[in-house]
């Protein structure tokens, strides 16, 4: 078997076989899913069976509250509100409506022992308002039907780009920010993994044994590619998990909730399971309005490109470190700095994807993996013309080849250099040196 393949295999397997790999790979999506699902669960959790007593002294509301799933209204008469122990009769709350002046209604009160829940609160408020509104229309002699017919309810399609593809800037913002940030984490996380791997080889002195069998460049690339494989595998597992979550997600919520979420979203603006509806709707909207094929394939490209660009540098740093691990901190600084600058530009780019800063940030290979991912969801070729994308990709490939070549030069000298503290200034001199 080819030597570099052997190295890749070892680097890949030793990491994948670790227990921590499984834990991290499975916990991260669970964490994100939790962020998404828990608010929905909390918002809908108020909907277990509730019986609400209604005492209506105004006689306007009798039978007007519609029962919905889990919420039932019971209209009581001849009850003294002050002394009625509604809990004893199995009610979770009591809604008291006094005799109302329809022009200036006041004094409507809901009594309950605990917090009534967002759903109940907003439901009651909405119905009370609807009924009063109806009564007022009636008093003013306005025909309901005519009023509704006159109401304007036009939704405007915000189209962007030459092909007029439907886009949504909030979604683009979210997707752009998330993918840019994930790239940032990948660069840092896997870059550091490469550096630690090289340091381990140097400190444990296996490096010299290894390079009496393989070329230093093979050793370095084997490590880089092996760790990239770990990252890709992780990414793949996540994609599969997310896709299966998409299938499982509806099982968590009743069909009704989903129905309400999609159909009744507009009507129940402040009401119902607002948070849940919001979240579910966002998910559906995001899925619908983004070119996922483009985003995912570009994400993989920029993930690999950015990783290859930086990991060679991290490997070079690892080769410079001696016994003292604190060396690593000062040596990594010049590498982490552009990554952090990239993150900054990315954050400004998601708000302003057409700016000069965004353009240059997405072209220069030091920052392009993060910044370009922030721009892409805004539309290709609308916000990002094809030539931007092509130029950025070509420069990233050229940049990664150049970086790897330079880092390889530093690495092959550094990996055998013991005892002496090495600075970047010295290391850069090695680039010009022949073997």
């Amino acid at each position: 078997m080819n030597k570099i393949l052997l190295i890749i295999k070892r680097e890949f397997l030793t990491r994948v076989r670790k227990r921590s790999f499984l834990v991290v790979t499975l916990l991260i999506p669970v964490f994100f899913a939790g962020l998404l699902v828990i608010p929905i669960l909390i918002a809908t959790s108020g909907s277990e069976d509730k019986r609400i007593a209604v005492v209506d002294d105004s006689h306007l509301f009798l039978g007007r509250f519609p029962d919905s799933k889990g919420t039932y209204y019971k209209y009581l008469t001849n009850i003294k509100v002050d002394t009625f122990r509604y809990e004893q009769y199995g009610y979770s709350g009591l809604l008291y409506i006094p005799d109302l002046d329809i022009k200036r209604p006041s004094g409507i009160t809901y009594y309950s022992s605990g917090q009534p829940g967002i759903g109940v609160e907003s439901n009651i408020t909405k119905h009370v308002n609807d009924i009063i509104e109806e009564k007022r229309l009636e008093n003013a002699g306005i025909d309901r039907e005519k009023l509704f017919a006159a109401k304007s309810d036009i939704s405007i399609d915000f189209k962007s780009g030459a092909d007029g593809k439907k886009g949504n800037s909030a979604v683009a913002y979210g997707v752009g920010y998330a993918s840019g940030f994930i790239i940032y984490i990948i660069l840092m996380f896997f870059g550091m993994a490469v550096m630690r791997g090289v340091m381990e080889e140097k400190v444990s002195r296996i490096a010299e044994v290894m390079i009496s069998s393989v070329k230093p460049f093979q050793l370095m690339m084997g490590k880089i590619i092996g760790i990239a494989g770990v990252g890709l595998l992780q990414f793949l597992i996540w994609v599969v998990l997310i896709l299966s979550l998409q299938l499982i997600l509806p099982l968590f919520f009743s069909a009704e909730t989903l129905h309400a979420a999609t159909q009744g979203g507009g009507v129940m603006q402040s009401g119902g399971n607002a948070a849940a509806i919001d979240a579910i709707e966002k998910i559906r909207y995001v899925i619908g309005s983004v070119n996922w094929t483009l985003i995912i394939s570009c994400f993989i490209f920029y993930f690999l490109g950015g990783y290859l660009f930086y990991s060679a540098l991290f490997a070079a740093v690892g080769s410079l470190v001696n016994e003292d691990p604190t060396d690593a901190q000062s040596l990594t600084f010049p590498i982490t700095l552009p990554i952090i600058i990239g993150l900054m530009i990315m954050i400004s780019t998601v708000q302003n994807p057409d700016s000069q800063l965004a353009f240059w940030g997405s072209i220069i290979p030091f920052t392009s993996p993060m910044v370009m991912m922030a721009r892409l969801p805004y539309g290709v070729p609308g916000t990002v013309p094809y030539w931007h994308l092509a130029l950025s990709m070509v420069l990233l490939i050229v940049g990664f080849l150049g970086m790897t070549w330079m880092a390889g030069k530093i690495y092959r000298t550094g990996i055998l250099m013991y005892g002496k503290k090495i600075t970047w200034k010295e290391a850069i001199k090695w680039i010009g040196k022949k073997n």
């Binding site: 444990s204 044994v209 069998s213 013991y418």
Partner: protein, 306 residues
């Protein structure tokens, strides 16, 4: 037949010449000692022979062909002075990995591993992690990883450092066995007593330069100072020892160390004792140890005679 011919090898570092115009040959099947104080350029020399460094100048012939790291690296086993193994890897996997990197097939490598693990009695360690082993045990694993692919050239840099006497002996025996089976061995050290015991030929380097090279026996012979030791049955009195054939260097209990004078022969010494009726129990030439040659030569270099 030489396995290796090194011609005018030179390697400069930024601050100094690590290897300065060194030439030597290593006959096939010999045990070749590379000697020198710390910082003499031994490791740099070895790294050039193992293809880790390229020489700035000069040529290395391997098997009578210019050294091609890509190809010849497979026939070399190198155990650097700074030992190293992947600490978290299992012993067996690690040896297999290193063997495969030397171009062995998995099946063949596994058979060889079994053979060597049995031979050095470390079979029970196969599934242990390297970090669980003692330093001496790790040395054994390292040694096996170095020779597993049956190299025609074996380079050992201070192979006995860190080994207890029993294991050192075990490894020494393996080295002799490998040598007998035709493996050429380069043995780098600054421990001279081992050199005399093990090596056929040596090269002595200091400050990047070759001081001398040749067969161990020949070198000791070349540097002899005509010293002899005579054992006597009874100690003679002082007057009986007066002669111009030799001078007494050291008097011991029932023995003398004497230096033969120019123009005299060993028989003149013996005749002297016989004439005086002093019973001789033994007579022996004292050859300088490589250590003495080494120290002499190095000191000569430090303080050149004006």
């Amino acid at each position: 037949m030489n396995l290796i011919e090194v011609k005018n090898l030179r390697k400069d570092y930024a601050t100094h010449k690590a290897v300065d115009d060194i030439s030597f040959v290593i006959p096939r099947g010999s045990i070749f000692g590379l000697l020198g104080p710390n910082g003499a350029g031994k490791t740099t020399l070895l790294r050039m022979i193992t293809g880790i460094f390229y020489p700035d100048h000069g040529q290395i012939l391997f098997n009578n062909k210019p050294f091609d790291p890509e190809r010849d690296i497979q026939s070399i086993g190198y155990m650097p002075e700074e030992r190293g193994l992947y600490k978290k890897m299992k012993v067996g996997e690690q040896t297999l990995y290193l063997a495969q990197l030397k171009g062995m097939r998995e099946k063949e490598a596994k058979e060889k591993i079994k053979y060597w693990f049995d031979k050095l009695d470390i079979n029970t360690w196969y599934n242990k992690k390297v970090e669980e082993l003692s330093k001496g045990m790790q040395q054994k694993v390292q040694f096996i990883s170095t020779i597993i692919h049956n190299p025609s050239l074996l380079i050992l840099d201070e192979p006995f450092s860190g080994l207890d006497p029993i294991n050192a002996n075990l490894i020494k025996q393996e080295i002799f066995d490998l040598s007998k089976s035709g493996t050429t061995i380069i043995f780098s050290t600054h421990r001279m007593e081992q050199v005399e015991e093990i090596c056929d030929r040596i090269i002595l380097v200091n400050k990047g330069k070759k001081i001398l090279d040749g067969e161990v026996k020949q070198i000791r012979h070349d540097f002899k100072q005509h010293l002899f030791r005579i054992g006597v049955g009874t100690m003679p009195n002082f007057a009986q020892m007066a002669t111009w054939h030799f001078s007494i260097i050291k008097q011991e209990d029932h023995a003398y160390t004497v230096k033969l004078s120019e123009g005299s022969t060993t028989n003149d010494i013996l005749m002297h004792f016989i004439k005086h009726d002093i019973p001789i129990t033994y007579f022996q030439e004292i050859l300088p140890s490589i250590n003495e040659v080494f120290i002499n030569k190095v000191q000569e270099m430090e303080q050149p005679l004006n």
